[in-house]
């Protein structure tokens, strides 16, 4: 591999050789080699299921490998558990945070560090480290009251308190605004200058280009190559990841926008509990043939808006939500489906699919009326299985059969299935929350293409997402939701990522209105 420009010739901080891990029915890691030098920021790239998470879990001692060795500063080590890894100097920021909601920031940090560091004075040290690296945190707050960005800071501060030599970050930026990402990069570069090695996992290839010195690419459990992100483009890296040419989704510029099929007029809704967000006088129109994007940081009312649109929570008046011209504000989810709405909720397991039911049963549950899957009140199993198999085939869902449980699919595959299930019901209105959350480049492109096709057929599509790249790629107009208020939508040509980022951070009004300049 192209060794780091930093400290070339010195002993690697971390060297893995021949790491192999077999799960039942899946070879997660197949003789993986990886070398990271002191101070190097090293990217680990790969599609969902390529084996990145298994590999970092092995480094952190959560997973035992079947074969292979790990050298730490040149010495052979056997990382028996995460405590041992932490003592070596490995810190890890998890993709799905390893935090305890009902406990305080300080308790959460104390639990994740060596007992001798967790003694009295910890709150003072938390404040010191968080100020030193520009990661403000209040040790006495409870985690459930914090934003996702703040929660991530807890994980980072937890690592920094232990004076790490290697920091592993699994998809750290998927929940941050562009400004927060930039701030985090400053911290990471500073750590790198101080000699800390960083192993950085991300799907966002332009971020890797901006930050990392080297990249290792994995596919199907194997290392398929190394590259220098500085000389590659995001497109070439994506192609190395998926192993074929990436077909970028094409927006059909000839799309004709028609009537407004989804109209929200003055929707207000009190939050169910004090940690939720109240919706405040939300109005929007989604027209036939267009894709409206709603940007926003998690926890600003997206979930509540989705609940109000899907009918999981009913509005106070029936005239605040209009679907195909019908007053739908007081209709339940089933009635709205009958009107021709397709839903792709954020939570795939639990909202989008029943985890312990098979794929065909899940297909039945949402498609039973619109796909006519009932015979005199009984399930038409043959027709349902056929429908489920078509979804699997048309949307390239990787599964060994439609009688497998929804929970057995990887996140990206299940998302493709849910997306396909809704699209094949030919919805006139499609509402998707975070459609490509945690989904790799290849699958994301397929999902985006499906949304374009749907709009082309005349559906009104609403995409609510935190991923600005996604919104800029698919939307014709973008609105921003912040603290439960929705800005007016603007054509995507008139907007920049920076403007949207500022508005997501709590600056209300569109950029040309008022002209405030305040970074929240």
């Amino acid at each position: 591999m192209s060794n780091s420009v930093h400290n070339a010739g010195s002993v690697p901080r971390l060297a893995l050789k021949g790491v192999t891990k077999q799960y039942p029915g899946c070879l997660a890691n197949d003789s993986v080699d990886l070398t990271i030098m002191p101070g190097e920021i090293h990217a680990l790239l790969g599609e969902n299921g390529a084996g990145k998470s298994t590999l970092v879990k092995y480094i952190y001692g959560v997973v035992k490998a079947d074969a292979g060795e790990m050298r730490w500063n040149g010495e052979l080590v056997d990382v028996v558990n995460p405590n041992f890894a932490r003592r070596l100097g490995v810190g890890m920021v998890f993709q799905h945070f390893s935090l305890f909601d009902s406990m305080t920031v300080e308790e959460n940090i104390a639990l994740g560090i060596a007992p001798e560091l967790a003694g009295p004075g910890l709150d003072k040290r938390i404040r010191e480290v968080s100020e030193q690296y520009g990661l403000p945190l209040d040790p006495k707050r409870h985690v459930f009251s914090l934003s996702v960005g703040e929660r991530q800071r807890i994980e980072i501060v937890r690592c920094l308190l232990q004076d790490p030599k290697l920091l592993i970050m699994d998809e750290p930026t998927s929940v941050l605004t562009p400004q927060e990402v930039e701030r985090m990069f400053v911290t990471l570069r500073r750590l790198s200058d101080e000699g800390v090695s960083i192993l950085y996992i991300s799907h966002k290839l332009d971020e890797i280009k901006a930050l990392c010195h080297n990249a290792t690419i994995m596919r199907a459990g194997k290392v398929v190559g190394d590259c220098d992100p500085q000389v590659e483009t995001p497109k070439t890296m994506a192609e190395m990841m998926i192993g074929t040419h990436l077909v970028a989704p094409q927006r059909d510029e000839t799309m004709v926008e028609g009537d407004a099929l989804l109209v929200v007029d003055g929707l207000s809704m009190e939050a169910e509990d004090e940690h939720g967000t109240s919706l405040k006088n939300i109005s929007m129109e989604v027209r036939s043939g267009e894709i409206l994007g709603i940007a926003g940081i998690a926890g600003n009312g997206q979930t509540e808006l989705m609940d109000a649109l899907s009918g999981e929570v009913l509005a106070d008046h029936e005239n605040v939500v209009l679907i195909n011209g019908e007053l739908a504000g007081r209709m339940g989810a089933g009635e709205r489906r009958d009107l021709g709405v397709g839903f792709v909720p954020e939570e795939r397991l639990g909202h989008g699919a029943v985890p312990d039911m098979s794929l065909w049963e899940n297909a039945f549950l949402s498609g039973m009326k619109r796909k006519d899957l009932l015979i005199k009140g009984f399930m038409d199993v043959v027709k349902t299985v056929d429908y489920a198999e078509k979804i699997v085939k048309n949307f390239k869902v990787k599964t060994s059969g439609v009688d497998h449980n929804a929970s057995s699919l990887s996140g990206g595959n299940l998302q493709k299935f849910i997306m396909g299930r809704e699209i094949m019901q030919d919805p006139t209105v499609m509402i998707a929350l975070q459609p490509t959350w945690g989904v790799d480049a290849g699958a994301a492109a397929a999902i985006h293409q499906a949304l374009f096709d749907l709009a082309k057929k005349g559906a009104a599509v609403l995409v609510i997402s935190q991923d600005l790249d996604e919104l800029f790629a698919v939307s014709s107009r973008i609105a921003v939701i912040a603290e439960g208020k929705l800005s007016p939508a603007k054509p995507v040509e008139d907007l920049t990522v920076e403007q949207i980022g500022l508005m997501m951070g709590g600056l209300h009004g569109m950029p040309d209105e008022g002209g405030q300049k305040r970074v929240a």
């Binding site: 879990k57 001692g61 959560v62 998890f94 935090l99 909601d101 007992p115 509990d273």
Partner: protein, 307 residues
Amino acid sequence: MDSAIVIASVLTIMTAATPLVFAALGELIVEKSGVLNLGVEGMMIVGAICAFATAVTSGSAFLGIIVGMLAGAGLSLLFAILTQNLMANHVATGLALTIFGIGLSALIGDGFAGQKLDPLPKGIPGLSDIPVIGPLLFGHDILVYFSIVATGAVAWFLTKTRAGMILRAVGDNHDAAHSIGYSVIKIRYMAILFGGAMAGLGGAYISLAYSPLWAEGMTAGRGWIALALVVFATWKPWRAFLGAYLFGGVTIIQLIIQGYGINIPAQFLSMLPYLATIVVLVVISRDKYLVKMNAPACLGKLFHASH
């Protein structure tokens, strides 16, 4: 009512509450670790008969207490193996444990029914002779004092110690606890065994002190009340203690009212503690925030380690 009756009532309330305190404290720790063990009633009654049988046979009440606790812990070990290693459903296993415990206690107790036993000695010599406050403060058996100490110890353990913090963390998010590097199953095993020993101790108190004899089914649903108390207390030890005294009080007051010949059907009065449990549970559960803030998020969920 003269003061002697009041003092006597308070003393009986305390003995009625003490087994509930033990069982509820044990279950509180179990639930804080994310495990729901509905077998409290079964562990209590097995603790009761094992303690009684040992005390009668050996003549040592102390040995009886120890054996009662071991019996409760033994039964909970069965629960732990089934739910933690064999991944059986917590609710079904707990219910089965209760039914099993009631049957087992009847089997062991065959032949012990009707036998007599001296109750646990009460009172600190000298001090308990002081009028009024003497019997109230110093007139109890050793386990009443121990129940107070135990409540304080559990509260201290949960809020002030690192081990208690880890226990709460395991109950709040077992996957996160596992990925940070805590042994979820080991910690839950210890919590379950503690819960079993405390339920056994509660049972032993019933058969050695509260009513020193053996009768089939003598725990009479106290295990269920203890379970309810944990929710009633929103998983806080001192509130569970208070709750136990409240329910102990209702139990005893209905007896006193009956004793005064007030014309309320006895069956209605015996319903009171259970009715009060339901009312309190409804009132508490209505406050979503209170439950969310204190309830262990992983309560009753199975944990599959990811490797």
